[in-house]
């Protein structure tokens, strides 16, 4: 019984860990730039594919398989720099346009990135083979849990704490918060918003690409993999509150664990349960659990 409970919880928390990274990327971009980035799921897919390539290159060149997580994370982070290109090359032209244009542009990005992925990696699913099993299994209260899953959960938690520290303790964090609260005032005080936007968007992209890279050893990369996650990320955002990092954290946990419990107890309810929570939150707290009026 305890083992089953642990299995269900660990399944949910693992899912939540990945979901958090994508949702956090979505949140940071919305919080500061007020852009609802539909392409964050595509960045996740891009990170996954890059992760596979980085690990493949590493092992093909004699890298010890036990250290595969290093090229994996570096590959995921490096491809996050595509955020600079997207922000400078595309997004900056629509900041002053109607929100519809921003949505259209980020949706166009979804389609473009999907084609780009197919052109680069082909149509067949790609994976890192059996490296996932390299770190073995841990026994937790009678349940068998892949150690890699624990590493991902720990990494996601560390990133959450890191973002918390960045936002609350650093100069950059103060600027971000100021820009999120009142862009005009921040600009009047001499903050170069171009500088802020390019960094914020790249940070958001990197969170997504790193999420994709970290998940990939446990799964296989498919060009449409982002679509699956983006729908859940939206649920996270609504539950947690638009623009709130704490909301992304709690929302991801709620969605991940509820999904896992639903699959074990009454599988037909998997998505329905999540949306019931979304509806309940919308009725009870329209701004989400941690949303603010400004966001």
């Amino acid at each position: 019984m305890t083992a089953n409970l642990v299995n269900i919880l660990m399944g949910g928390v693992f899912h939540a860990a990945i979901l958090f990274l994508v949702a956090a990327g979505l949140q940071v971009v919305f919080g500061v730039q007020k852009i609802f980035n539909l392409a964050c799921g595509s960045f996740y897919a891009l990170g996954a594919y890059t992760g596979v390539s980085a690990v493949g290159y590493f092992t093909a060149h004699g890298g010890p398989p036990a250290l595969f997580i290093i090229p994996l994370a570096l590959g995921g982070l490096a491809v996050g720099l595509v955020g600079v290109v997207v922000e400078r090359g595309l997004l900056r032209f629509v900041y002053d346009r109607d929100e519809t244009f921003q949505l259209l542009l980020t949706f166009a990005l979804v389609l473009m990135l999907e084609d780009l992925i197919r052109m680069t990696w082909g149509t067949a699913p790609v994976s890192t083979g059996g490296l996932y099993l390299n770190y073995g299994q841990a026994r937790i209260l009678g349940a068998t849990v892949p150690v890699y899953n624990l590493i991902v959960i720990a990494a996601s938690l560390a990133i959450a704490l890191g973002i918390g520290w960045l936002l609350s303790r650093t100069v950059f964090g103060r600027i971000i918060r100021a820009a999120a609260d009142n862009r005009e005032m921040a600009e009047a005080l001499g903050v170069d918003m171009r500088w802020v936007y390019v960094r914020v968007f790249t940070l958001g992209t990197m969170l997504g690409t790193l999420g994709g890279a970290l998940v990939i050893p446990a799964t296989a990369a498919m060009s449409e993999m982002g679509i699956e996650l983006i729908v859940e990320a939206f649920a996270v955002v609504v539950i947690g509150g638009l623009g709130s990092m704490r909301g992304a954290f709690v929302g991801a946990l709620v969605v991940g664990v509820l999904r896992s419990v639903a699959i074990s107890v009454y599988p037909e309810l998997e998505m329905l349960l999540i949306y019931l929570i979304v509806i309940a939150v919308l009725i009870w707290r329209p701004r989400g659990l941690f949303g603010t009026a400004a966001a």
Binding site: I8, F14, E114, G122, Q137, A218, T219, A220, S264, P267
Partner: protein, 426 residues
Amino acid sequence: MATTRREFLKVAGGAAAAGAVGFPAVARGQARPGVPSDPVKIGIIAIRAGIAAPVGTAGLRGTEWWAERVNKSGGILGRQVQLIVEEESNPKDTVERYRKLILQDKVEVVIGGISTGVTLALGPVAEEMDTPWLSWDGTTQKGVEETMPNPKWAFKSVDNEVEAIVAGTLTPKYFKGVQTIAGINNDYSYGHDCWETYQAVLKKMGMNVKPVLELFPKLGVTDFTSHIAAIQQAKPDLLMTSFWSGDATILMKQAAAVGLFKNMKGVFTTAGGVHDSLKKEFTPEGLLLGYNTMYFDDPKGSPLLKQFVREYKAKYNEYPAYESDHAYFNIESYKVAVEKAYAQTKQWPTKAQVVKALEGVEAESLSGTRSWRPDHIQMCNFYQGLTTHKNNYDFVTINPIEVVSTKTAMKPAGSKLLDWINGWKV
């Protein structure tokens, strides 16, 4: 974006035709009397995006391989072959492209279609357009029974549920003591039908099994950790799945990470789309695995199959999926039918004459001879067996290879699937 892709394909098709003109005269063959000299246009509907992209691509590559060989050896009755490829996407758009192939490109036949939703939409259109259509795949029973009962122009793939039927008949042989089963199948008609059929066959085979869990994740899910936790909780003796794309690999990998198959039998009815991604590291021995139609490592495989696999691997650095085989047979059977009709009339046959010639025709596929049943259903062999690590690859193969013909594993024309199974005398 779709338009751009179509435009690109148009140019690519034109380039291919121009290339064909450049073939040495000896290789191009001489057109027979009564046969036009211009290339014969063949429309191809291929899915290259989304979850079915790997099999769609495999089907297209099998077709292109065929076209290259046929053109080098003189074409069909001396006519060079020109493929005009259109994208398979949603039913509405695909139907439009299908009409365009016939009305604008003036193709003589349309071949392809994988997704059940798309092929069900194409069926009635094929009947309207008076042009033969040979489907690669996408023919789950319920849909076919409802929308294409007596096709005149449409030629349909083998019943998809055959894989589950074959697995059901082999389960008592390999996994005798099983008492409880669980199923994880995709949440669409194929997944539901396979699970239902598999259980019906087990019952008919005298296995008194109790289903303890059924999961139907959406297509495209990449994290089955929670599903596996649910399976662990249900503790079935056997897990059955009809996953056939990347999800089969993911399930196998995530199951291995928690040692799911240490105390559980496994039945994977079809791995034909991703067989080479089922690495030994995470795919245990002793699972019942289906290869759908073509088994590339079959020591008894034909020289044609061996050549195809060799050249495919060399060109694309991967192994072909089962859809190459369906696609190869479809287009080869068209050639055979045209030649058969010509032998009678000494004229390039009309579309209606081709359809008549296709009925009951036999032609070579990559995995041996196949045929079209008079009711326009493809007849072929299925390959299933227990996974083994004893081979030269880094992925599992099956041994022994059980070869089951659709002549025995597919319901006869006109009957209902479950009625037919329930009527078996075992």
